[in-house]
C-alpha cells in the first residue's frame, strides 16, 4: 500500500576535502571556498524512501533548511526521483543548533500533513552530531529508529527494520508513523536520471527568479515566470518562519541553547621526530630501533 514519506536533507560544506585555501589567515574557515554538497548519509535516506515508494507506491517529499543556494540539493533530489521539494529559508533560522533546527524541521513536516515515515541521514558531515533526527522525532512525538540499515517489511500499521548497534545489529518492529535515520552503508543511492534531469532542470525557488530572469529576459516579470513554473510543477515552495507557524523564540540563534564560546585552529606540537628513508636500509634501521626500545618484539 502507498506511504507518504518525507526526507530531511542538508546541504553541507565538503569537509572531507579541506585544502589550504579554505583556512583564512586568522585560522577561521572560509565556508564560501568549500564546495557545497548533498550530505552523504542523506542520499542513503532518500534512496531508502524512494525504494519503498517504488515497491509500495506513495510519494516522497524532501525538505531542507538553508540559504537560497540550498535549492541545489532539492533539485538534485528531484533528479534522483523525489516527488516534491520544499525549502525552509528565512534569516530567523540562521545560527540554529540541533534543537532549533529540529524544531523548524518538525514544524515543516507538520505543515506538509500526515507523513507515515520521516527519513533523515544518520549524521551530517559538518557537525557529525547525529542529533537532528532523534530530536525531530521527539518534536513530532513519534518513535525513532536510528542507524537503520534496511526495511525488512511494512504492513500499513507497522514497519520492521534492521538497525546497526554497537558490535552488531538488531531487528525492530515499530508502529507508524515513525522516523528513521539511515546509515551510509544501507544502500547504493541511485544516480540522477537523465530524463528527470531534463524534466526538473528549471525547478526553482522564488529566491532564484532574479537570476533566471537575467538568463531568460523573455519572461518579462517574476510573476510571469512564477506562473509558468507553477503550471509545470517546477516551482519549489519557500517557507519562512511564519509559513511553518513557528514560535520565533525557538528558532535560529535565539532558540539555540548551545553557543560556540571559542574556536581554536589546532596547532600541532612538534614531536621530536626522526626521518626514515623509504629504503630497505632505512626500514631495517627503524625496525632495529623499535626492537632495541622494546616497542616491538
Amino acid at each position: 500500500m502507498p506511504y507518504r514519506s518525507v526526507v530531511l536533507i542538508k546541504q553541507v560544506p565538503d569537509t572531507h576535502n579541506i585544502s589550504g585555501k579554505v583556512m583564512t589567515e586568522e585560522g577561521t574557515i572560509d565556508r564560501g571556498a568549500l564546495p557545497a554538497i548533498f550530505n552523504p548519509d542523506d542520499l542513503n535516506a532518500l534512496e531508502m524512501a524512494l525504494a519503498l515508494r517504488d515497491a509500495e507506491g506513495g510519494t516522497v517529499a524532501v525538505i531542507t533548511m538553508g540559504p537560497p543556494a540550498a535549492a541545489a540539493i532539492l533539485r538534485e533530489a528531484l533528479f534522483r526521483g523525489a516527488d516534491e521539494a520544499y525549502l525552509l529559508s528565512d534569516k530567523r533560522f540562521a545560527g540554529a543548533d540541533t534543537l532549533a533546527t529540529s524544531y523548524a524541521l518538525a514544524q515543516a513536516v507538520r505543515k506538509l500533513g500526515e507523513a507515515d515515515l520521516v527519513f533523515a541521514g544518520r549524521q551530517a558531515i559538518d557537525g557529525d552530531t547525529a542529533q537532528v533526527g532523534p530530536q525531530t522525532a521527539e518534536k513530532l512525538g513519534i518513535p525513532q529508529i536510528t542507524w537503520a540499515e534496511a526495511i525488512l517489511g511494512i504492513d500499513g500499521s507497522k514497519i520492521t527494520v534492521r538497525r546497526s548497534i554497537d558490535r552488531g545489529t538488531e531487528t525492530v518492529e515499530c508502529a507508524l508513523p515513525c522516523l528513521l535515520t539511515v546509515v551510509g552503508s544501507a544502500n547504493e543511492p541511485r544516480p540522477a536520471s537523465v530524463r528527470r534531469r531534463i524534466e526538473y532542470k528549471l525547478a526553482s525557488t522564488s529566491m532564484e527568479y532574479k537570476t533566471l530572469l537575467a538568463k531568460w529576459p523573455d519572461f518579462g516579470s517574476e510573476e510571469a515566470l512564477d506562473a509558468w513554473l507553477a503550471e509545470r510543477k517546477l516551482r519549489i515552495p519557500v517557507w519562512s518562519a511564519a509559513d511553518i507557524g513557528a514560535d520565533e523564540a525557538r528558532l535560529g540563534l535565539a532558540g539555540s541553547p548551545t553557543q560556540v564560546y571559542k574556536v581554536n585552529f589546532v596547532v600541532l606540537e612538534g614531536a621530536e621526530s626522526k626521518d626514515v628513508q623509504p629504503t630497505r636500509e632505512g626500514i631495517a634501521g627503524l625496525v632495529d630501533e623499535l626492537v632495541r626500545e622494546y616497542i616491538v618484539g
Binding site: T171, L268, I295
Partner: protein
C-alpha cells in the same frame, strides 16, 4: 526543589555471560563526573535503568558515584528509546541536575538527543574534553560562572570548538568510549542507592525489539598494543591487505581513518578518531592517513607513531615519531620483510 549543581551519568550496561556488566564508557564518565563535581562542590549521581541491575550499584559507587538512582522495571531490560527517555526526562525534571553525561555509544547517541529535545536544552556530541569554566557573553554583558565547557573537534575535524550552554539546564554532553580515562576503583567509598518507580505511557511501547545479533570484533582493537591503520592513501583492497599482513606480523590489529571506511575498505567498527574508537597503543602505524584532527583525536596519545605518507606536508607527520615519506605499497612490504628477518 532548588536547582542542584549535581553531575549525572547515564549508566549503560550489557548482559554478559554472568549477568550484567557496566559499559566501560560509563565507568570512564564517572571518573570525569567526579572531577567536575569536586570542582563544583557537588555530587555525582549515577542513573541506572534496567531489570535486575541493583547488583551493579556498588561498582558505580566505587568508581565515584555518591548516589545511584536505581530505576528497575521489566520493560527496561533491553534498551529502547522511548521507555528509557521517559524515565530520564522524568528524573531530570524532578531533580534538576546541573550536568548530565552520556556515553556516545549507539545507545547514548540514540537516547541523549531525544532527552535533550524533550527538556529543550543543549547537547554536545562526541566531546573530547570537559571542563568547568566561566563564559563571558559580550552580547549580554554578563559572565556565566562555572559552566560546563564542552570541547570537541568541529567542521570535519579541522577546528576545536568549545561549546557552552549558558542558560539551558541541564547541560548535556556525550563522550566516546576510551576518550576519558577510567579512575581506579575505590571499594571503600561510601554511597547511597535510591530506588525509583518508573511510570510509562502506552505510547512508550510503540517499538519492539525482535532480535539482536552480536558481532564481536572491535574489542581487541581498542586494547591492542599495536595498531596499523590505513586512510585515503590506501589505493584499494589489495593495499589494505598489506596493512593486515603488517598487523599480523606485529600481532596487532588493523584500524582505519574515516576516508578508508567511506571507501568501503573495512567495516566501520574499525574507525579510529573522534567519531570512532580512541586507541592508545604502544605503536601506531598510520599508512596513507593525512592526519586530520578528527583522526588524531583517536590516536594521538599512542606511545610511538610511525607515519607513512607520500605527501611530506601531511599533518600526521607533525605528531609522528618516525616519518617515512614514501608510497605505502612499497614501504609496508619492506617493513614486513624487515620484521620477519628480525624474528628469525
Amino acid at each position: 526543589m532548588s536547582d542542584s549543581r549535581n553531575v549525572w551519568v547515564f549508566v549503560e550496561h550489557d548482559v554478559g555471560g554472568d549477568g550484567s556488566v557496566i559499559a566501560d564508557v560509563s565507568l570512564e564518565l564517572l571518573g570525569k563526573a567526579r572531577e567536575l563535581a569536586d570542582r563544583l562542590g557537588s555530587e555525582v549521581h549515577a542513573v541506572l535503568c534496567g531489570s535486575k541491575v541493583e547488583g551493579l550499584a556498588p561498582t558505580l559507587i566505587a568508581q565515584g558515584a555518591d548516589l545511584v538512582i536505581l530505576a528497575e522495571h521489566d520493560e527496561l531490560e533491553a534498551y529502547r528509546t522511548l521507555p528509557y527517555a521517559r524515565v530520564i526526562v522524568g528524573l531530570v525534571e524532578e531533580r534538576k541536575p546541573y550536568i548530565v553525561l552520556f556515553g556516545a555509544s549507539a545507545v547514548g547517541r540514540d537516547l541523549a538527543p531525544r532527552v535533550a529535545s524533550a527538556l529543550r536544552t543543549g547537547l554536545t556530541a562526541d566531546c573530547t574534553d570537559l571542563q568547568i569554566g566561566d563564559y563571558e557573553s559580550r552580547k549580554e554583558g554578563k559572565v556565566f560562572k562555572d559552566l560546563l565547557l564542552q570541547i570537541r573537534p568541529a567542521f570535519g575535524g579541522n577546528l576545536i570548538a568549545t561549546i557552552v550552554n549558558p542558560k539551558g539546564r541541564p547541560q548535556m554532553a556525550s563522550v566516546r568510549e576510551g576518550v576519558m580515562k577510567k579512575a581506579a576503583a575505590e571499594p571503600t567509598r561510601r554511597g547511597r542507592v535510591e530506588r525509583v518507580t518508573p511510570r510509562f505511557e502506552a505510547s512508550d511501547f510503540a517499538l519492539k525489539v525482535i532480535s539482536r545479533e552480536r558481532r564481536e570484533s572491535t574489542l581487541r582493537l581498542k586494547d591492542s598494543a599495536v595498531v596499523v591503520a590505513g586512510g585515503a592513501g590506501v589505493a584499494g583492497p589489495e593495499e589494505f591487505d598489506l596493512l593486515r599482513e603488517l598487523a599480523q606480523v606485529l600481532a596487532g590489529e588493523v584500524g582505519a581513518s574515516r576516508a578508508a571506511i567511506d571507501a568501503g575498505l573495512i567495516h566501520h567498527d574499525h574507525q579510529i578518531g573522534q567519531t570512532g574508537l580512541t586507541v592508545r597503543p604502544r605503536l601506531y602505524i598510520a599508512a596513507g592517513i593525512s592526519g586530520a584532527i578528527q583522526h588524531r583525536a583517536g590516536m594521538d596519545e599512542s606511545n610511538k607513531i610511525i607515519a607513512i605518507n607520500t605527501d611530506p606536508d601531511a599533518p600526521i607527520f607533525q605528531i609522528a615519531d618516525y616519518r617515512i615519506v614514501g608510497d605505502l605499497a612499497e614501504v609496508v612490504p619492506m617493513l614486513v620483510e624487515a620484521l620477519r628477518d628480525k624474528a628469525k
